[in-house]
């Protein structure tokens, strides 16, 4: 206690209990890191770091495991999802903060938050039964007929469109992360002081010019933070992609092929791993995933804190 010198014994006990409870967060974080590291030590010893990262093989029979295909799948789905989600999310944030009349701001905000509340397994199942057939029947053949005919870009759309592929998975992931990016961008936009905006209006700027030249530059740190959080979430998302990716361990140039991500591999193979080195390699994947998303999320938190601190000054 900060102000009295005489400590009540019950107070000491209570403060001790609360401190233990809060330290549990540190223990869980450190515990995850330690356990993932020790469990994957067998695989780390056998494959090393760079060999594991670059080896495409994932062969339980020959006991040869590499992360390249899974990391490639994770990277592609995440990047595509971000490309799909960021423009929409920023557009929504602009709509909610600057465009919408007051009576619409609340409902649209709630709708976006509900989109965030739907669990990922629902996205996954909806993707498998509803979106994948639509993709296979209409959207993917259409893409093949139009931009698929172009040179260079064409190889992205080769093969038979089945709907169970990188493109569908990325779409679902994109829809899932729109709300995170939108709500953090909205908060960042709201940090722009009204005085700054008003002075821009006073010199005759249109609404769009205020958004483009005042609000966006002012809040870019916060928006980057929102994008980074979405990136962290997308890296670790499991169920939304597990349904529609096919867990196919290959590096493919076409977005219309089945693939695997780190999370999909874990979800499908973890309980089936019958050999120590197999399970250890899966733990190695989990370790890489944990470290990657932790770093990304830490950067996100740093950006958002910096944005908030700047506006409090």
């Amino acid at each position: 206690m900060i102000f009295s010198k005489k400590k009540n014994p019950v107070d000491l006990i209570f403060s001790f209990i609360t401190s233990v409870a809060s330290i549990s967060v540190i223990l869980i974080t450190a515990g995850i890191l330690y356990v993932l590291f020790t469990e994957s030590s067998l695989s780390i010893e056998k494959f090393g770091f760079f060999k594991f990262l670059t080896l495409v093989d994932w062969d339980p029979v020959k006991e040869s495991f590499g992360a390249a295909a899974a990391l490639y799948g994770t990277l592609i789905t995440t990047v595509l999802a971000l490309i799909f989600a960021i423009p929409v999310a920023v557009g929504i944030a602009i709509f909610v903060t600057e465009v919408a009349p007051n009576f619409l701001k609340g409902p649209v905000g709630i709708a976006i938050e509900l989109l965030a509340a739907i669990p990922s397994i629902i996205y996954g199942m909806w993707g498998l039964f509803t979106l994948a057939p639509i993709m296979a029947k209409y959207i993917e053949p259409f893409l093949q007929k139009t931009i698929g005919k172009l040179p260079l870009v064409g190889i992205l759309f080769e093969g038979t469109p089945l709907g169970i592929d990188l493109l569908t998975a990325s779409m679902i992931l994109g829809i899932m992360i729109i709300p995170f990016t939108a709500s953090i961008s909205r908060d960042a936009f709201n940090l722009t002081p009204a005085v700054v905006k008003e002075s821009a209006y006073a010199v005759g700027a249109t609404k769009w010019e205020v958004v483009k030249d005042v609000v966006l530059p002012y809040s870019k740190l916060g928006v980057f933070g929102g994008v980074a959080i979405s990136l962290g979430r997308a890296l670790g998302e499991t169920m939304a992609v597990a349904f529609v990716l096919g867990n196919n361990n290959q590096i493919t140039t076409s977005l219309l092929d089945a693939a695997a991500t780190v999370t999909v591999k874990l979800a499908n193979e973890f309980t089936e791993a019958d050999k120590d080195i197999y399970l250890s390699s899966l733990y190695y994947l989990a370790l890489l995933l944990f470290v990657m998303s932790f770093i990304v999320l830490a950067i996100a938190k740093f950006l958002i804190l910096k944005a908030e601190r700047r506006s409090n000054r």
């Binding site: 609360t18 409870a21 509900l114 669990p119 890296l235 999320l297």
Partner: protein
């Protein structure tokens, strides 16, 4: 005058585009929820709640085991996660207020909120399932609790910080020790906010499937024994949707409908409480 017109038109176009993106976002919400309602309502029947699964591929049967199992796992996760989270948040907002350690734990919790849930599953597998030699409902509850703790801790910290310091000083002036001030004054002031946070964190873990895959696993029989593998709705949805039988798919839709409704109702309730409590 020309240039002015151009700028105004440019502004209009930009805002029409931004309105379209908002409609696009809402389109997906309506599409997904509508789809789940259409498929789910048709699949609902009383057998779903009172019967256990029929043998694979056979018509009929229900998901009683998964409903009860899910309820038990979530209940025990809440019983573990909420006290730890609330007490931890209390430490950050009260005893360690303004100290470096509070700041560190607070930032770490914010990061842990978004860390991949499946990694928590592999962690619990290593510390509980492997030593005991079998999957269990307890392992599932612990995994969900670990996801809950940072969420509850951060909300509690924020809500306690909202209680004005003068209220505490008034209680100190009457000679109350700090723990009494916290329990009888500060908690009361922040109760609505903390309860809402707890509600939202329950909604969050109810939809989790990834951390249960390697911990609670699944069980096609009815079981209330938390020492055994326990079925959950989310894992059943995953198994049934990926399976080959139409009856499985129908039941997966019905289970999805129940979970989605539960989560959306709790989320809306939480928003309403916040709005009602902090409207000014």
């Amino acid at each position: 005058m020309r240039r002015e017109n151009f700028r105004v038109i440019q502004s209009r176009i930009a805002f029409i585009l931004s309105t379209l993106t908002a409609l696009f976002g809402i389109f997906w919400l309506v599409f997904i929820i509508g789809d789940i309602l259409i498929h789910g309502i048709g699949a609902l029947n009383i057998d779903l709640f009172i019967k256990d699964p029929a043998p694979a591929g056979v018509e009929g049967g229900g998901l009683r085991n998964a409903f009860v199992g899910h309820l038990m796992i979530t209940l025990f996760a809440t019983l573990i996660g909420v006290p730890v989270g609330v007490l931890g948040g209390t430490f950050l907002a009260e005893y360690a207020r303004g100290k470096k350690i509070a700041r560190l734990i607070s930032i770490l919790s914010d990061i842990m909120v978004s860390v991949p849930a499946i990694v928590v599953g592999t962690f619990v597998y290593a510390i509980i399932v492997k030593p005991l030699g079998h999957f269990s409902g307890w392992a599932g509850a612990v995994a969900l609790a670990m996801i809950m703790i940072p969420v509850v801790l951060r909300t509690t910290e924020d809500m306690l910080s909202l209680v004005s310091w003068t209220v505490r000083e008034a209680a100190f002036a009457l000679g109350a020790p700090y723990y009494k001030v916290i329990i009888q004054v500060v908690y009361r002031g922040a109760a609505t906010g903390i309860l809402t946070g707890i509600l939202l964190s329950i909604a969050r873990v109810t939809g989790e499937a990834a951390p249960l895959l390697f911990t609670a696993f699944n069980n096609s029989f009815f079981s209330t024994n938390m020492n055994e593998p326990v079925a959950s709705l989310t894992v059943s949805i995953f198994q049934y949707a990926m399976g080959p039988y139409d009856i499985w798919h129908t039941q997966a839709w019905a289970a999805s409908l129940m979970i989605t409704l539960f989560i959306l109702i709790i989320t809306i309730l939480g928003r309403l409480i916040i709005k009602w409590r902090y409207k000014k």
